[in-house]
């Protein structure tokens, strides 16, 4: 009706423009990045600036994305800063530059990260990088084929995740030729030895955390195993 208030014209969100700009070559990221899990993993570094620990969103050998809600890093894009990175093997002071900012996120470029640390990080990131190749398998189109699992995820590299609906066992994960059984409230089991080390568990968490386009079931699985991890 003409007297009704007209629906306001929809303005494209800023994200669209950023995407367009990135098509023009503004996006220059060259290194593969992995997402950081919510829980703390011993092999991944922690970042401190002026004694304040900053939460890492994602990381690559070229830089990282930090959450800085209290603006300790300052608003200035282009600033060079010095950060303390805590590695499992010790502390390292790294020069870095704030490349861009989106709300509370600061994209940081490492300027002088040593080659040995880069190698260490690359190795630690491996499960995360492998996870980025994992994709979900379709649900059957016809009713004739039934799947004895909630979801199946796999990659051409041979890694896979099978989410089950068991009372105790909730998933099977195959990562780098090792098979793990994930339980609801217990430490995972590695086949055939039965012993899943702390390092193995960390790899599973990093792997699951980096699978792209996660479903609700996968998100739930992540949350469950992160809870098991934090309970020790």
């Amino acid at each position: 009706m003409f007297w009704r208030k007209r629906k306001p014209q929809e303005i494209p969100p800023l994200q669209t423009l950023v995407q367009l700009a990135s098509r023009l070559g503004v996006e220059r990221r060259v290194n593969v990045r992995i997402r950081y899990p919510a829980c703390i993993l011993s092999k991944l570094p922690e970042v401190f600036f002026a004694d304040t620990k900053l939460k890492i969103v994602d990381i690559s050998v070229g830089g990282c994305c930090l959450l800085d809600p209290s603006e300790v890093l300052g608003p200035q894009v282009g600033n060079e800063i010095q950060m303390n990175i805590h590695w499992p093997t010790g502390l390292e002071r790294v020069n870095a530059r704030i490349v861009s900012r989106v709300e509370h996120r600061r994209h940081i470029q490492f300027l002088n990260l040593s080659r040995s640390r880069q190698n260490f990080l690359t190795k630690a990131m491996t499960p995360g990088v492998r996870a980025q190749r994992v994709h979900r398998h379709n649900l059957p189109i016809n009713d004739a084929v039934e799947i004895e699992a909630l979801e199946m995820w796999s990659s051409a590299l041979g890694d896979s995740v099978t989410i089950e609906n068991g009372v105790h066992r909730i998933a099977q994960v195959q990562l780098q030729n090792e098979v793990f059984h994930i339980f609801r409230d217990a430490w995972p089991q590695k086949l055939p030895s039965g012993k899943c080390s702390k390092a193995d568990f960390e790899q599973i968490i990093l792997f699951l955390c980096n699978i792209p386009l996660p479903s609700r079931a996968l998100e739930k699985l992540r949350a469950t195993i992160e809870q098991v991890w934090s309970q020790g």
Partner: protein, 686 residues
């Protein structure tokens, strides 16, 4: 109605998919039908609903995964078809070539009658398996004390007291019983460990008529220890029966039993066939992907190469196999030689004096020849052929190129005359053109083949000598035809630009003959002559053209608009750290970066870096402002400069482009303004 593999719409029978690690087991309602597939083929199984053809399924998998394991898919379809898993399997007609490729592995010397596709146990007990196998192994090792140090002497002694017919019969009975017992034990082991045993059959083979149980369920073994125990026990289990029967049976039966066991053990250690010994080595030395290969699927080389540890292990495995194979061959040859020396004269004698029992020496001779053939074939096919293959390829290639060269010399003259009128080659002397043609390759392409693939690294320039080509470009998921080119013309010119990928696909519209010129050689010839300038102009024209065709912003421009911009623009060359324009300058042109990169600075602070394919200077044009930033080259760079008037003339014809550029300009402007305000604030604070 039969359909080819590509058009076949597979429809699976009702069943269920059971995921297990990185594999899935597909089981139909009839539990006797089961197949194990790698999990990355799950999409294939789930798409076999009868709605999509194999071609469509492959396309869907490609779109989803970005890669298609073609070999595995074809093998899976083949095995599912053979196993009767498809409801509409009768419709599929495999191309004979594909069929022979997939059936190549299953050829062997036996007849079999399968009476059980799958036996299922109500429960399974790995502990019982472990104990039973361990006991069997210990007893078999005790039985190995009867292993003959001189088997041929034993055979000779035993044959001395037997007629040829009864000897052959006893040997056949002993070997049949040993094989049957071995397979029965195998079935027990599998049922204990996995609860399943597959393909139970009665088999007639050179070992006699015996029970046979397939080892497919061994793929379900989860422990390397169990697998190792399984294969070792399968090699030596015959000696278990020898140990048990030795005190009870008469010497007339013990000798053939020992001889049959000796032959079976020797054969099971043969690395040139799919023996238990080879499987044992595989289980010990190769990675899990290769264990899957033991069932149906070979992990692709690409995937294997990604896993360096597995690749190294496989190399070690190959080396070990070669050493073992050589030793086994040496042992086999000694056996062949000794048996020829010992039994040859008497066998020939009985053949000459042909009688009712001569069929036994004939059979013996036949077996001896077959064994010798196997030894020679294994040696030639596996060892000599592998050693010679790389050298053979070199010889073959050289001979082929020599023959081609002879034929081409005559054709080269015609090509020289054909290309001399092309603008790029018009400045070359005839002898230089001859050199170019001589050092290039004349390639024939059948109709509808792709000559150039978009995105490939460009290293060669092509001259279309005969036929017609079609130039296409990927636009999302579709291919857009750009133009059709006829002979004589140049294509693939992006090769003249260093580090530049192919910007379009080129497809042969008819049968095509093209001259493939290596660009480094062309450049070398051009530098020697005075044609460098010509080549340089040509390169620049390509650079500009490529910029407009590959830039996401300008790609939508019509051909006329691009030509118009090209005619109005000028090429500008800048050295490293040279200022293109300063902040505050008046702006009258826009710059496209053809080569190199620039740094953008606002009040002396670096804001961003732009590289090849990007453009700058548009803000001043659109907003009618002075330059909002200083642009400095980062390395020696080439820009294409277009004046404001020419630029606007195109923009008014392409409103979409204008709107888009305006939006980008606004953003950049906003960013620059923010930057300048921030810097001023910082300056005033300090």
């Amino acid at each position: 109605m039969s359909s080819s593999l590509e058009n076949f719409k597979p429809k699976l029978r009702t069943g269920r998919v059971i995921p297990q690690g990185s594999r899935i087991i597909f089981e139909t309602d009839n539990p006797y039908n089961q197949i194990i597939l790698p999990m990355n083929l799950a999409d294939l199984v789930l798409l076999c609903s009868g709605n999509f053809s194999v071609r469509e399924i492959i396309e869907k998998i490609y779109k989803k995964q970005g890669a298609v394991p073609f070999k595995s898919i074809l093998q899976a379809v083949h095995i599912l078809h053979q196993g009767g898993f498809f409801e509409n399997g009768d419709e599929l007609e495999f191309h004979p070539q594909l069929n022979s490729w997939m059936d190549a592995k299953s050829s062997s010397w036996h007849l079999s009658w399968r009476f059980g596709q799958r036996i299922v146990a109500s429960s399974h007990s790995p502990t019982t398996y472990y104990i039973v196998t361990l006991v069997a192994l210990v007893v078999s090792i005790l039985g190995l004390q009867h292993f003959p140090s001189e088997p041929l002497s034993l055979l000779s002694e035993w044959l001395g007291g037997e007629t040829p017919a009864s000897a052959a019969l006893k040997l056949l009975i002993c070997s049949s019983l040993t094989q049957s017992a071995r397979h029965l034990f195998r079935a027990v082991q599998m049922l204990l460990l996995t609860g399943k045993a597959y393909n139970v059959s009665i088999r007639a083979s050179p070992w006699g008529v015996h029970l046979h149980v397939g080892d497919e369920a061994s793929d379900l073994f989860e422990s390397k220890l169990y697998t190792t125990m399984f294969h070792v026990s399968q090699i030596v289990i015959g000696w278990f029966f020898v140990y048990c029967l030795y005190p009870r049976a008469s010497s007339a039966w013990i000798s053939p039993l020992v001889i049959a066991n000796f032959l079976i053990t020797f054969w099971e250690l043969n690395p040139f066939v799919n023996s238990e010994g080879l499987k044992l080595l595989q289980s010990l030395m190769t990675s899990r992907e290769s264990e899957i290969a033991a069932w149906h699927f070979e992990a692709s080389k690409l995937i294997r190469s990604l896993n360096l540890v597995s690749f190294r292990r496989n190399q070690e495995f190959a080396r070990f196999c070669a050493a073992w194979g050589t030793l086994w061959l040496a042992g086999g040859l000694v056996l062949v030689h000794s048996s020829a020396v010992r039994f040859g004269p008497s066998a020939l004698n009985s053949l000459i004096h042909f009688g009712p029992y001569s069929f036994v020496p004939v059979l013996g001779l036949f077996m001896w020849l077959a064994f010798l053939f196997h030894l020679v074939q294994s040696f030639v096919e596996t060892i000599v052929a592998n050693f010679l293959r790389p050298h053979w390829n070199v010889i073959h290639t050289r001979a082929r190129s020599w023959i081609l060269r002879q034929n081409q010399e005559a054709a080269n003259e015609n090509i020289v005359h054909a290309i001399e009128d092309l603008p790029l080659f018009s400045h070359f002397q005839e002898y230089q053109l001859q050199q170019i043609v001589k050092n290039s390759q004349v390639v024939d392409f059948p109709k509808n083949t792709f000559i150039i693939i978009q995105g490939d690294q460009a290293r060669e320039l092509y001259v279309l000598v005969e036929g017609e080509i079609e130039i296409l470009r990927n636009k999302g998921n579709e291919m857009e035809a750009i133009t059709v080119q006829a002979a004589v013309s140049i294509f693939g010119e992006s090769a003249l630009l260093e580090d530049s990928p192919r910007a379009a696909q080129v497809k042969a519209k008819t049968r095509v003959r093209a001259l493939k010129i290596p660009v480094p050689f062309l450049k070398k010839i051009a530098e020697e002559s005075q044609a460098v300038r010509q080549l340089e102009d040509f390169r620049n024209a390509i650079l500009v053209n490529q910029f407009f065709s590959s830039s996401p912003v300008f790609r939508s421009l019509s051909h006329d608009s691009v030509e118009f911009l090209c005619s109005r623009g000028t090429l500008e060359y800048f050295d490293e750290s040279q200022v293109v324009f300063n902040q505050g300058d008046s702006g009258d042109s826009v710059f496209m970066i053809l080569r190199g990169s620039v740094n953008v600075e606002v009040f002396g602070n670096p804001v961003k870096r732009m590289s090849q394919g990007n453009f700058f200077g548009e803000i001043a044009l659109i907003a009618n402002l002075p330059r909002t930033a200083t642009v400095v080259t980062n390395e020696p760079s080439v820009f294409f400069r277009i004046s404001a008037d020419a630029f606007w003339e195109v923009l008014v014809q392409h409103i979409d482009l204008g709107v888009f550029l305006e939006t980008v300009s606004e953003n950049r402007l906003l960013e620059d303004l923010n930057m300048s305000q921030g810097t001023r604030r910082t300056g005033s604070d300090s």
